[in-house]
């Protein structure tokens, strides 16, 4: 194939969309995870946990809007097929996101005796949103089919993704808190890590066996030679994190950010594997990114804006994370 704009642009946008999804999963992953961990915390701890994500969650969720937005604007046909096929799980996701988003704000502003209710809804919304994302991932991996087996697999991935978000949340808490809550977060991390590993193994095994095309892509010479490091590095990262979790917190709070970064790396590796499996399809085995793409001139217009704006967004996101760096303290509107 020749590298001209009609070929390049869909490729670039698939890359951008993948990047947005990955950033979303890592960033909103930790704040959804903290919502899930709400179930295992007491009231004071909950205030600290919310303070650890307060300045960030709006922006984190915006990456989902960008990811879905890019699917919508760059691959409109695929957007229609995927979202009508996943109509109900998408709906559950949205209800979950609505509940947790408003609960986050309401819990701090309602009269004190009603705060409990919104704490619960923050937990319930975070959990349902995570579960539905996992379910959608499971169904997508199996090619958007339906049937009992697909449902079962979707449910398994749903549980595991929720657990891996909980792991992200725990890792973020290790970074942002101290004392008893930090020690608690280490225990949460260890428990959630097991399910995260299980989920990644399940998805990694199911993907090639659900599609002969993907099987072919992984298990042929010479591809297999340079792909082998991917699962090995991932496994190594898991083992190291597992080992580390028995020693945290360390003196002087060393390595407090390491669990989060390691998990982010693990997510990135897993995501890279998925991306390799599905490329060049945007709807598995049905529609390639070129078949689903918008007109070249429209993609060009979007790309011009993206090229200017995306680095700026990433830049000021880093700035915001730096301003609110350090241990979480009480969160007030001043």
């Amino acid at each position: 194939m020749t590298l001209d704009w009609p070929v390049l642009l869909p490729l670039i946008f698939a890359g951008l969309m993948g990047l947005s999804i990955l950033i979303y999963v890592v960033l909103d992953g930790f704040d959804l995870g903290i919502g899930i961990l709400f179930a295992m915390a007491d009231d004071d701890e909950r205030d600290t946990m919310v303070a650890a994500i307060g300045p960030f969650w709006d922006a984190n969720e915006t990456w989902l809007v960008l990811a879905v937005g890019l699917l919508l604007v760059a691959f409109p046909v695929a957007h229609g097929i995927i979202l009508t096929a996943l109509y109900l799980p998408v709906f559950v996701l949205l209800v979950g996101l609505i509940l947790r988003g408003v609960a986050f704000d309401f819990r701090a502003k309602v009269p004190v005796h009603r705060k409990h209710r919104w704490n619960f809804l923050f937990f319930a919304g975070s959990l349902t949103a995570s579960l539905s994302q996992g379910y959608m991932l499971g169904v997508y991996v199996l090619g958007l089919d339906d049937g009992l087996a697909v449902f079962g697999f979707g449910a398994l991935v749903a549980l595991c993704l929720a657990a891996s978000y909980a792991a992200m949340g725990a890792a973020w808490l290790i970074y942002k808190t101290e004392g008893e809550l930090q020690r608690k977060a280490v225990r949460f991390l260890r428990g959630a890590l097991l399910f995260t590993a299980l989920g990644m193994v399940a998805v990694s095994l199911a993907t090639p066996f659900a599609s002969p095309r993907i099987f072919e892509k992984w298990f042929t010479w010479p591809e297999i030679a340079w792909l082998t490091p991917l699962p090995i590095i991932t496994g190594g990262a898991f083992l190291w994190l597992w080992h580390l979790s028995f020693h945290l917190p360390l003196k002087g709070d060393r390595h407090s950010i390491t669990p989060f970064l390691t998990l982010a790396a693990i997510f990135t590796l897993g995501f890279a594997g998925l991306a390799y499996s599905f490329y060049p399809y945007v709807v598995p085995d049905r529609l390639t990114i070129w078949e689903a793409a918008s007109a070249t001139e429209s993609l060009g217009i979007i790309l011009v804006g993206t090229a200017f704006v995306l680095p700026v967004i990433i830049g000021y996101s880093f700035y915001a994370y730096r301003i609110f760096g350090g241990k979480a303290t009480e969160l007030t509107y001043d």
Binding site: L94, D105, F106, E297
Partner: protein, 454 residues
């Protein structure tokens, strides 16, 4: 009911709920900046207290706007795949620019604006407020560009049933866009003006005479009194623009069934679609000809020219009248109150009692106006390009009915809670007065003459 009407109801429910919150945040961002700049200039802590009160309302409204906005971005695909398949080449870039230039700007700097006052310098905090206000306004710019293009499409060509852009400038600045953008931005200003004045009036009625209450009240009343005449003028121009580009919508707004001269201005009627005439009509002779054509025997287009191709008449007719009626009430109340504040330096209790329930009058007018223009676009999704029924997706009616029911229940609940929390915040502020401490805020008002009544 079939999937089409259910999907339309669901979209209407989602977007109606969504628009309420951006309508607040677009203008409230600028009002917050005004409070902040007044504080920077005078060093008077009461401005900062007003800022902190309204920033909470901003945060709450923003959160509801974000979560309902996320829902909107999925709606296109889940229920209306035909929309993007047909006009995605044009709608796509406009939506993309909205997310890229606006959504992120708001979302990232919101954190600093809400929680960063003591973490960053005062200058950076002011800058964050500017960027958030600018971001919300840019959001409105792009999304209204898309909506206006759907009303009055321009700058494109159709190839094999798919729209391709030929002139981006013409697409963004399509014929109805400048009017719609101005009309909506002022509507947002009015909504916020009445919300601020209304909640401040509630605090006043509860005995609150604090500095910060007066400052917010005066800001709200004068902002409203200043904007409403401008809005009436801009609204009139927007109407004339609609007459030029979507005459069937104006015919429905006026419930004018027959193209003719000397058309009366219908004040009240029950439009009967079956008989294609008005029942119980009360009208001012020649009124519509005068308003729309600036001459009593001006010929006004009627619905008979658009049989089978015009919107349902009653909702458009009534939506328009509710919007205008609320606008006139806003004019009367804000000018009367403005007079007393300026000349007498007081707020008479009857006016405070009238203001408190008018806190949400902006919402009523905004929704009524949007219903007028969006139902007025039917049966087209994109005027002359795509009919609404052609865009609906394959999801079965039962599923859409189920999701619609849950959405509506959720939205009603959230609305009750939102209104309850706002009232709670206002009552709590009324009780605390200006007594609670504000760490990090200097309070050294420059010497200035005391204002009567404060």
């Amino acid at each position: 009911m079939d999937a089409l009407i259910l999907s339309r109801l669901q979209f209407a429910a989602n977007i109606s709920f969504h628009i309420l919150f951006p309508t607040i945040t677009i203008a409230l961002g600028w009002v917050l900046l005004f409070f902040k700049l007044r504080y920077n200039a005078t060093g008077d802590g009461a401005w900062m207290r007003a800022y902190f009160f309204w920033v909470k309302v901003f945060a709450l409204s923003f959160a509801l706007g974000v979560v309902s906005g996320v829902t909107m971005s999925f709606q296109f695909g889940t229920n209306w795949p035909g929309f993007m398949e047909t006009v995605g080449n044009i709608a796509g870039p406009l939506l993309a620019y909205e997310v890229l230039t606006a959504f992120f700007l708001e979302a990232v700097f919101l954190g600093i604006m809400l929680f960063g006052f003591r973490r960053v310098s005062n200058r950076v905090h002011t800058l964050a407020t500017v960027l958030v206000a600018f971001g919300t306004t840019m959001s409105a710019f792009w999304i209204l560009a898309l909506n206006s293009w759907m009303q009055t499409p321009a700058g494109f060509e159709m190839r094999d049933g798919v729209a391709y852009a030929t002139d981006w400038w013409a697409i963004v600045f399509n014929p109805s866009f400048p009017y719609r953008l101005a009309h909506m931005l002022i509507a947002s200003g009015l909504t916020v003006a009445f919300l601020i004045a209304g909640l401040s009036a509630l605090r006043y009625l509860k005995g609150d005479r604090s500095d910060s209450m007066w400052k917010a009240l005066r800001t709200g009343v004068f902002l409203g009194a200043g904007l409403i005449p401008v809005q009436i003028f801009v609204g009139d121009m927007h109407g004339l623009n609609t007459l030029e580009h979507q005459p069937q919508k104006v015919a429905a707004m006026e419930a004018n069934w027959v193209t003719r001269p000397n058309v009366p201005l219908v004040l009240f009627a029950w439009p009967d679609e079956e008989a294609r005439e008005n029942r119980f009509e009360i009208a001012i002779p020649n009124g519509a000809s005068l308003i729309l054509k600036h001459s009593i025997d001006g010929v006004v287009p009627g619905l008979n020219d658009y049989v089978g191709n015009h919107p349902p008449v009653a909702p458009v007719f009534w939506g328009f009248r509710i919007m205008v009626g609320v606008g006139l009430a806003m004019l009367a109340l804000s000018w009367a109150t403005g007079f007393f504040l300026l000349r007498r330096g007081t707020l008479p209790r009857p006016l405070a009692y009238a203001y408190a329930p008018m806190a949400f009058s902006g919402w009523v007018a905004t929704l009524a106006g949007w219903y007028t223009t969006e139902i007025g676009r039917q049966p087209w999704l994109v005027t002359g390009v795509l009919r609404t029924e052609q865009a609906v997706g394959p999801v079965p009616a039962g599923q859409v009915g189920f999701t619609l029911t849950v959405y509506v229940a959720l939205y009603v609940t959230l609305m009750i809670v939102y209104l309850g929390v706002l009232t709670h915040l206002a009552l709590k502020a009324a009780k605390d007065g200006d007594q609670t401490p504000m760490p990090g805020v200097r309070n050294e008002p420059l010497a200035q003459p005391a204002q009567a009544g404060e």
